[in-house]
Symmetry: C2
Subunit: 385 residues, 2 copies
């Protein structure tokens, strides 16, 4: 059996040799129809697990200094009830012996890891990694690390991750639910535990857990009003999956704006997509076929907005002249689009930051003050609307 592993599908089965290219063996993976070369895998040397020497522990320093373990611990932790002389002596010795505290032992006795757990649906979506960045920044500024788990939008994985993390691995949990998640017992059973929890971005209603949300409703309202003021009357909306609280909030804001300006709400102007390019393109086709007089499109994300504009341009519809397009999220892609994208900045990073701050507050205070925070966003007017 071939020991070569496909670089694409990661299997060792069904690999065939496929000629030599530039002096290197080329392979073909039948499973995923992928050609590749083993391009420069150099095995330099094979040193054994020759761990140099054992980590020095408090007891080693105790032995070397003649003091007890307790005293050494006190000296190294800057406790007050110790003579300056002893403390300095021990610190110098520890330095010389290259002492490194075993954080695992420390965490164990304190039952605290100085680590936050974060569960997000995916790392491939800008919006999540941006929130993650905010979380990380805030956490780091308080000396906390973060441990990341992804649910891949699946309930099972989300649930398993919660369980694992809550078993003393972390001091606090930040969670953004998967699409699949629509029951919340896996979370609610942890509500009264030592470890605090904060939900962000996609949250469950009715749980006694702090939350940090984007201003979806208000955002949709502002965006819609802006378009109405520009003269639009037939405003289509591209939403995410129907069950999404996010879709519902945005829809609500949209409806309020319409009502306020006495425009009839037409359900048929809404489409619900799964974020794939396919479904976005389909939506555009659908609108143009059944509602050729559509004069604006509000998109669930900047990425989808970009796809919408690309699609419209490909069939020679002018943006914003014929159809105005607005996105959500203020991602980089909006800046380089042609025309530049008008978008509602949901302050994604701030959501992460605030969620992080909320949980750090709970950890340091020991209080379980339940807060619901809505991060205000703002409309970024550019050229597409």
């Amino acid at each position: 059996m071939s020991r070569v592993r496909c670089l694409q599908c990661n299997q060792t089965e069904n690999i065939r040799k496929a000629g030599i290219i530039r002096g290197k063996q080329r392979f073909y993976c039948k499973t995923c129809s992928y050609h590749f070369t083993e391009d420069k895998i150099e095995k330099v040397k094979n040193i054994g697990p020759n761990v140099t020497d054992k980590q020095v522990s408090l007891s080693d320093i105790a032995n070397a200094s003649g003091f007890s373990i307790a005293t050494v611990s006190r000296a190294l932790n800057e406790k007050s009830d110790i003579s300056v002389k002893t403390r300095e002596l021990i610190k110098v010795l520890a330095e010389k012996m290259n002492y490194q505290p075993n954080l695992l032992a420390k965490s164990f006795v304190k039952q605290s890891t100085k680590t936050l757990g974060v569960i997000i649906p995916s790392l491939d979506t800008t919006i999540f990694s941006t929130m993650l960045s905010g979380i990380q920044e805030m956490a780091a500024s308080s000396g906390y690390r973060i441990i990341i788990c992804t649910s891949n939008e699946m309930y099972e994985q989300e649930s398993a991750n919660i369980q694992a993390l809550m078993n003393n691995m972390i001091d606090g949990l930040l969670i953004c639910h998967s699409i699949q998640t629509n029951s919340f017992e896996h979370l609610s059973i942890h509500v009264n535990k030592r470890i605090p929890i904060v939900q962000f971005y996609r949250v469950a209603l009715g749980l006694s857990i702090s939350q940090v949300l984007a201003s979806d409703e208000r955002g949709a309202l502002e965006v819609t009003e802006y378009l109405i003021k520009k003269g639009c009357r037939k405003i289509a909306v591209l939403l995410g999956p129907k069950e999404f609280s996010l879709s519902q909030s945005r829809l609500k804001g949209y409806k309020i704006a319409l009502k306020k300006h006495e425009i009839n709400f037409d359900e048929r102007l809404l489409t619900y997509v799964d974020f794939g390019q396919e479904s976005v393109y389909k939506s555009v086709d659908y609108w143009l076929t059944y509602f050729p007089d559509v004069d604006a499109i509000i998109s669930i994300s900047d990425k989808s907005a970009a796809q919408i504009i690309t699609k419209l341009k490909s069939i020679n519809i002018k943006v914003p002249n014929q159809i105005r397009v607005v996105g959500f999220g203020n991602e980089f892609v909006g800046e380089i689009l042609d025309p530049k994208l008008t978008t509602f900045d949901t302050q994604t990073k701030m959501i992460g930051k605030e969620a992080s701050r909320l949980i750090l507050d709970q950890i340091s205070s020991g209080k379980r003050e339940i807060k619901k925070l809505v991060i205000p966003g703002k409309l970024i007017v550019r050229d597409s609307a």
Copy 2:
């Protein structure tokens, strides 16, 4: 003193009230000149730290069942030397008592956390979060979690993070160096420790540490040759910071291609940027001023390529007719650019995956086989070149 905190700069000083808007108090932060409202901060209730009840431990189950702690441990860990009857009995009891193992204690006695440490320069750059995604996927498939630290491109932070993580917090370390990092003692001192290390993307030469790299040299060579075949003779290159091994590798590939096709290398066609839009725009201005006959630009990243194209369009230079542009990385932005971006796909996610695989192999085998892996990429031909 005001207790309101600025949503932008995160301070409580210098906050002024600034009128009422839609029934909500509006504020102004003098420090960072930012207006905001406290938009819907609801304090729902303030429950104390009423931890329901202590976590049940092995000893609780031992007491309840009449068996010893050791037997309970064996039963719950599916060890063989235990009667089926006892095992089932204990498992049922544990379930009933809602036992959850204390992972921290487990990690402590095993000195293994089933966690990989990852140090990356930033979470705000697509390329890093994409690699992270690859790392995470591979790790999760082997039951490992990942703990993320960012260096923010600073040596100090990188060094501190290495130190913290290597103190028994993790089973393996994956590191992508910061720009600032140009000495590597902070890493080399850990080479012979129990915890294996793998460098990826930005690596140090001369250390006995496994590495996973993008095929920068080959990529630049392919890209350059492609442009030459299209008839380009005056090919400018936008590089990252000069000290970057990445910049050097790409430069090398570029030079080889020129030499092969007997085109003179002109150092003045190179610019070195810091990834900011400013420096990219400046580069374009520079080329157009001093080398108006430039017929192609190779960019360090797709993001910069996008900025280059935006800039060229703004001064009515046609891409690819007058100047061809090629990016690196195959990011989403390239697909929606107009014209669509020709780019070299460095297989960013694969780099993460392979780095992760490498370290998992080292962990499970206990071997320290030092490998250098170059992940092959491929040219994606679209419209910009």
